[in-house]
Symmetry: C2
Subunit: 280 residues, 2 copies
């Protein structure tokens, strides 16, 4: 596995590989790998000739009061976890990605202003801008994202489609801990008690699934039941619970065929997200 | 020359050509070719293996009160003018470029809000968004723009650089009519008298050049002299006159090495722009 930090050098190398006909797979990450990341990297390995993994904690997607400084990092461990799967690890520094005179923004309209965008203003503009840059550097044929960040995945898909980027976006299932908690680098922030209580997100999604299976199709009812279930947990503070159309992210009132139930909940000071796709 | 209207088909064709090692040159236009366009197309022909010309009157870059509907078009003549130079003519329709659910915008920060951006709000966001799309469809190694639209050229350069697009932007000199008027598709709007008076833009730039050559380095003085010169022409109404640093577009007070003198003037109802690069 080559480790490259220069955007320009990586792009040059990729152009060379593409001229040879190689299919490029790309997994963009913020590092601190867990099984969720590794599932994406392994899938890229199966699908593609060349696997590029990036680690870049993108300052543009953190609000001024968010956890940019404290975001968990362990580059040595990340290297050892991905070195058997990836051909290239791309680790640019902040100045290389955002020189002082950097100006350009990529924004996917209203998709970034709803759901997590309400409590994290500017977050998704930061995400779409950095992913646009990374796609232009890595020039992937396929790029891999986790379903855990459902809104992010929808926004990246829409951006790639709207801007005619020649990349296929693959969204892979959420990987969960033994008790159902969605894997996340931020789970490391949880205290022992919080960690146990954090499973309430997943359990509330299973409650929703069961209710819908039993014929409850009124979204307001499903959400109300989830809400009262979650609020039994002392450390939980609900940011939002929504049931939406998976592609457009528009809220729906009655569940017909496909729906995405998603939520953001603070467990203590840690904001966690999770979701489940429901097909009737 | 192939004529292609589908973004997807063109992109597929280009990917095929790039795998063969072909160097792709691209000239994006809104059609109604004059010698300015043709100078770009001929230069692309000299530099590249494959020359792609696009004709797309981009609704996103026209304000609600602007001349989208009346913008001059003559696709048959354009085809005959470029068929000996271009390999592919790309003529997408509006729905193919902007489906009903189109959402994404590319904005080059403050560069689009100054100069022409003041009287044309949203114009440069429309330009950078469409050029971003076109670059992703055509995947050019080199793309050609005219210096006449100096702000546009600076914005496209900045976008390509900020977003790490693997394209080299070439900006070619303004092509002028016999009397100095900068060639523009919009010159067709001018009446016989206006056409004669329109040369005032160029003449005021030559005045500026001469003043600076004679040692006048105070930009306010140069601009004041240009202003009073232009206002002698009855049909002329000045939108702006500025002297700026060519790359950052920041206004300068005293001319040192390099400066771009640029202006926008209404001749009757037609808004014309022109500029001159000064090196001391």
């Amino acid at each position: 596995m080559k480790i490259i930090s220069s955007p320009r050098l990586l792009q040059k190398e990729i152009i060379r590989l593409k001229k040879k006909g190689k299919v490029i797979g790309f997994v963009p990450t913020m590092g601190y790998f867990h099984e969720g990341h590794l599932s994406l990297i392994r899938r890229a390995r199966e699908d593609c000739d060349i696997v590029v993994v990036s680690i870049f904690v993108n300052p543009l997607q953190f609000g001024p009061k968010e956890d940019l400084k404290g975001y968990p990092r362990n580059i040595k461990k990340d290297i050892s976890l991905c070195r058997n799967y990836a051909d290239i690890l791309f680790c640019p520094n902040v100045k290389a990605m955002y020189p002082d005179d950097f100006l350009t923004e990529v924004k996917v309209g209203r998709l970034g202003d709803i759901l997590c965008g309400v409590s994290r203003p500017g977050h998704f503009k930061g995400v779409s801008t950095v992913v646009n840059k990374l796609f232009n550097i890595v020039l992937p044929d396929k790029a891999y994202f986790g379903q855990k960040d459902a809104q992010q995945a929808a926004i990246i898909k829409k951006m790639a489609c709207d801007l005619n980027m020649p990349v296929e976006i693959q969204v892979l299932p959420i990987v969960r801990e033994y008790d159902g908690l969605a894997m996340s680098s931020r789970n490391v922030y949880l205290s022992y008690t919080e960690r146990k209580e954090a499973v309430v997100l997943y359990k509330s999604l299973i409650l929703a699934k069961d209710l819908i299976k039993d014929g409850v199709v009124d979204c307001a009812k499903v959400i109300a039941r989830m809400r009262s279930y979650i609020l039994k947990t002392k450390s939980a503070k609900i940011d939002y619970i929504r049931i939406i159309e998976p592609k457009t992210l528009v809220a729906i009132k009655k569940i017909k065929r496909e729906a995405l139930v998603l939520l953001a909940v603070f467990i203590g000071k840690t904001r966690l997200i999770d979701n489940i796709l429901i097909k009737r």
